[in-house]
């Protein structure tokens, strides 16, 4: 069975990486909507505002960001109501090859898994297939 188109949120302090992610997502042909944030706090506000009004949403969040990093974002997200949380599927991205970061990602219930940067056509295909089960 194939799923409907999905919503995407990209959070990365690098404008360039946001641009790449947005393009890749649009190219996937599975995109209902895509929102890009360079500040994690704005993404949190967005999620709070949208609530459950939107269907399945895939969130790509960078780990190393100033002011609010990816982990802090996830921790704040996890405080939100369960009904809202089940709509969002988190993937954490990083360019660092740090074992501690990768291990830490596994500790968060709301995070599906860790992805290496950059986001490519192949990565997004693999991610979308996880929803095809």
């Amino acid at each position: 069975m194939s799923v409907d188109k999905m919503n995407f949120i990209v959070i990365d302090d690098s404008k360039l990486d946001c641009f790449i992610a947005e393009k890749i997502i649009l190219n996937s042909g599975m995109c209902e909507s895509v929102k890009v944030f360079q500040q994690a706090s704005q993404a949190l506000e967005h999620i709070q505002a949208v609530g459950t009004a939107q269907g399945t949403t895939v969130v790509f969040v960078d780990i190393q960001m100033p002011v609010m990093n990816g982990f802090e974002f996830v921790e704040n997200f996890e405080k939100m109501p369960d009904g809202l949380k089940k709509n969002y599927h988190m993937y954490m991205l990083s360019s660092s090859i740090n074992e501690n970061d990768i291990a830490r990602v596994k500790g968060y219930d709301s995070v599906r898994r860790f992805l290496n940067k950059p986001l490519t056509n192949d990565t997004i295909k693999a991610v979308l297939e996880e929803f095809n089960a």
Binding site: D13, S14, I20, P66, V67, S94, S95, I97, N98, P118
Partner: protein, 363 residues
């Protein structure tokens, strides 16, 4: 007489006569502190943490010299201990060495020359041990920094490379010329960012490893260098650049450190402007007089939130949501200032601006 540079020693004995004669014999060579019981000795040590040698009589009422040394070992581990005794049974010598960590053993009645040589040797040992502790601490700091660096380097150096790889992947499917040009522009930005990071890194290590090269500083020349760098930025970004130099008398210092400091502060001042502000300005002033230079960089940009004021000088700390900060700039400033005994003060309010005041003594 100047007693500040003399070796500080402490002598403990329950016999007041011994104390008096000891002080009389050695007061010209050392800065002598005396105590006639162990409580008083501990008080002297607390008041004078730089006492380097302690001499104690073994036979005292209440507590032996060895017991005293053993007791103070945890609280005052640094001073070197010398035991003085008239009774030389082997048992007390062994326990002195094993329990009291005694450096030397002096027999009563003492010879002045023996005591002096023991004190001098003990002091040498004290200096060496302390230097080792300082070096160890430095080494520890270097290790921690290396850890932090390795973590950040993979992110900050690999980041732009991975971005470019991502764009290359995208260009494979791009057909429109405009789109491709936009992507090339983005790749350029990524490479500039990487280059900037590497230059900061280079600055960091030239501050760290580099020897200071003290020359006479002409602050007009410093100003000219900074003008060359920032006059264009000022025009392009539409930020007023106010400059003033005032130099009365000679100033000697390390040219490279001073320029690294000025450059980083100015770079930040221009970088962290408020995009929508009307009258944007950066002011840069140098006043050099009375053997010190005061450099002030002020802007009316985004400012620094109060909670971050203590962190801005930390390596890899980034306080703003911009993507150009490397977390190196102010750390390098602080590092350079440490090397040339300078000071920095910062005052800042969010959305109003920041002011950095640097004070550097002339060499």
């Amino acid at each position: 007489m100047d007693t500040s540079k003399k070796i500080k020693i402490l002598y403990i004995d329950d016999e007041p006569n011994n104390l008096v004669s000891f002080k009389a014999s050695f007061r010209f060579d050392y800065n002598v502190f005396i105590a006639n019981n162990t409580d008083e000795a501990i008080k002297r040590l607390e008041e004078n943490p730089d006492i380097s040698v302690i001499l104690s009589d073994q036979r005292m009422p209440g507590m032996t010299g060895v017991e005293f040394f053993e007791e103070i070992r945890t609280e005052f581990p640094n001073p070197i201990r010398i035991l003085i005794t008239g009774y030389t049974d082997i048992e007390s010598v062994i326990s002195a060495i094993n329990r009291g960590h005694v450096f030397r053993y002096i027999k009563k009645p003492w010879e002045e020359a023996d005591v002096k040589s023991a004190i001098d040797e003990a002091h040498k040992f004290y200096i060496t041990t302390n230097m080792l502790a300082v070096k160890n601490e430095e080494l520890q700091k270097a290790y921690e920094e290396l850890d932090k660096f390795a973590y950040s380097a993979t992110h900050d150096m690999r980041g732009p490379i991975l971005s470019v790889l991502g764009i290359i992947d995208l260009t494979k499917n791009a057909e429109e010329m405009g789109e491709i040009k936009e992507m090339v522009g983005m790749m350029e930005n990524a490479m500039l960012k990487l280059d900037n990071y590497i230059q900061n890194l280079h600055d960091h290590y030239s501050i760290r490893r580099g020897e200071l090269n003290i020359t006479e500083i002409d602050f007009d020349n410093v100003m000219k260098d900074m003008s060359d760098l920032y006059d264009i930025t000022s025009r392009v970004k539409n930020v007023r650049f106010e400059k003033s130099v005032q130099q009365n008398g000679k100033f000697r210092g390390d040219d490279i450190s001073i320029k690294i400091i000025a450059n980083n502060l100015l770079s930040n001042a221009f970088k962290y402007q408020r995009k929508d502000a009307d009258d944007k300005f950066v002011s840069f002033s140098i006043i050099s007089e009375n053997n010190q230079a005061v450099i002030i960089v002020e802007d009316n940009g985004i400012g620094i939130p109060e909670k971050n004021l203590n962190d801005v000088f930390t390596m890899f700390f980034r306080g703003a949501n911009d993507e150009i900060g490397s977390g190196f700039g102010l750390y390098n400033v602080k590092d350079a200032l440490n090397k040339i005994n300078g000071k920095i003060e910062v005052s800042s309010s969010e959305d109003i601006g920041s002011k950095f005041i640097v004070t550097i003594p002339s060499k």
